[in-house]
Amino acid sequence: MTVKGSTALVRLAGNPSCEILGAMVMQEGSEKKFYERIVGEPYDREFGERQSSKRRGTQFEQNVFAGDARLLRESFSPFLGIDADTIIVRNLFDDYPGTKDDSRVARLRITRGILADAVAGRPAPHIIVQPQLLLPTSPGPRPYFFIAPDVLVRSPVDGVYLPGDLKSFIVRENEVAKGDLARVRLQLGAQVLALMHEYHCIDPSITVGSNGMLIFSRPNGLNPHAPRVEDLGGAIEAIRIGITAFLQHRQRINELRAGAEPFTVAADLSPNFQDACLTTCVMAQWCRQRVAGQASDMGEIASEVLGDMSIQHVIGLMAGTIEPANDYERIVAVQLRELAAKHNTERVA
């Protein structure tokens, strides 16, 4: 996973109190490079998106956007309440393709123009493909995040655009796994916030709803399911919290680094190791070393149950080599001894 664009915001929303994550977002270059510069060794685990996934994603988008986005028009036709053939699509990749900053800025300008046209009542497309938005966090290093929804769809109710994201992974009956849905909802949340910012620049009185749309792939071929409209109130709030946390981390990291690169102060930062880090962050093993021997090394639940007690301390309570400091520790010791008796373990005297 990267720490650029909306992905960075999604990850900050998932773990807002991690300063290491804040430093990773500020650092130029890849997350893997960040790890290698801190640890001094090559990263020996899987990193980045697989070629097969990238290919699938590209093919899905190409298929959906082909023929003036025919499949997309058919998908959105019931939502827009008009015939698929009369839906007007504007694909900004036709004007400025690519992911370079210059292209992004050019697409941002066009997107802003279309939004302004729509607000002013001038003709505007029903669907904008590959629009570009921006979320400012200025002043300071990394003063903005580029946010790129796959599509913006104009609501037939109030004329305000809604962000939509295409997901190429296979979904049956349009039912998505909880974990996958949580991640993509956060992504949409970041897009809604960016859209709010753009509309606010045009007219602060415009209300952007907290809805977004997700379009998943069917099991057969590369066809899209019907769009799912998601209420993103919680996701938007989580992204807001993530941004606020990033601004705090950025300030602290800037104070510490005094002009040096962010990775140089990693040892002075506070990580917040949690279970999900193991599947999302290259720094997970490094951060876990800092909680080695602590209850949190056995997961968040163990951390909640045992608090600050180390595993060795708990075993000492069981063995009787450490006196319980309070009633809770006494209960832990008694229960552990019962458990030990059941499993025929010898007490360490």
């Binding site: 699938r56 997961g299 458990l339």
Partner: protein, 467 residues
Amino acid sequence: MNAFDDTLCRVMARHMNRAIPTRISSGLSSDPDVSIGIATIKIVTEDQIQAIAFGSLDGEPEVIVRLDPIGRDVSDLVPFANFMDQTASHALAADGALRVWIPHSVTLEALDILGHRYWQNQTAPDAVVRMGKICRILAHEATFPGQQVVADVSALLQDHVVTGLAPIEEGHLDAMLAWLDPAVRDPLTESRERIRLPASGILPNTPDYPSDDRVDRLRKEAKRATGHRRAILEADIEATLRRWVLREWRLLIGARQAFLGLGLPSVGLDGLVKDSTARMNNALANGHYPARRPDKLAVLLAEMEAGLEKAELAALESDPALREQAQHAGGVVRGVVSDVRQPRRNFKPCSIDVDSDQGVIRFRVDDKVRVVGSNVTGIVRSLSSMPTGGTKVSIEITGGFRQAGILSVDSQLEVLREGYGFVNHRAFKLVSQHQPWVFFGEGAPTIAAGTSSGRSALAIATEVRRP
């Protein structure tokens, strides 16, 4: 298991350098005669199976590697399709008794998607269509709580043992196995090293094993190549896929042995086995018909709820360790009979008082209950706190009046709630016939205002309530 007990078990597992069993009985019945294993390797995101290992569990598996898994030609799947058809025929001959062992839920997902793709595909060979149906039937069966057909060995191990890892790490089957292998001296280090390579039905893609990206590249090259060069590339792809699908198979076999090696008896599962075999027998004989109509979906939901309850009760009935955990949460009440009111010995009416030390219990008045290990059933009639801090439970006995050993003062017993989950097929049949708006309408119908009887709904309900 609650968070506290779970954590203490993890500490104990760390201390003892081995997995700690959390149950005394198995949640899975013994293997029926028709028992097979399936392991798969899929393409990430694409969810297309690119290699399958399948066969009986006591020999080498048959392996299919697919050189072009995203192509339209599915003739390479025919051997697997035939195997599934034969397995289904054998299962039908055994009245639906079947067991399919898989390493983890990803395999089930892969089979389900395979089923979705081909069960109604008119251009696929008949055998592949039949395979698609069987895969869908299996995936559907696996959604029922307590089902006894699909044995997801990763989930089974997580249900029956706890290791010193974080719960999220226990999803890695190879890591779990490190805690169940006595030859591994330091399972913590070993398991975390094993996690580096995926055990989730996909090719690894680490710097030392960049197999996924490599196979992807080789496929591209093979498409352009011809003759000898093409044969070399295809052999390379085949060898890679074979190697990793066989690793998945070995994980499956190793994990199955580890699970069976726990030596947990399979007791009290007859009802669940009966339900599973009946569902399988019906589906394999008549086909898979997913519920679409509201009343059918309601039946499905009711079946799942009933299955969940049956599975929980079967586990509680047969496993003292689970009962102890449930007792902490108040779900099971352990106590001593302090009074028996039975005018005629061995005959109704009969009611008893049970004094328990438990301050927290989850029984409520009118709950149907049963005494563990007996046929004594009853209804909770009153609950009162005792001065000692425990709870007195008064139970009207409704069955098992002749159990004098239990229905006598000072006898110790464990009481749990009786299952109430069932599917009211008669009611659903009426729903199907009359199609009421609650199930089939978009909104409530408008009812013309009538004359009020002047009585409250509560009063009417109280009147019709059975004593």
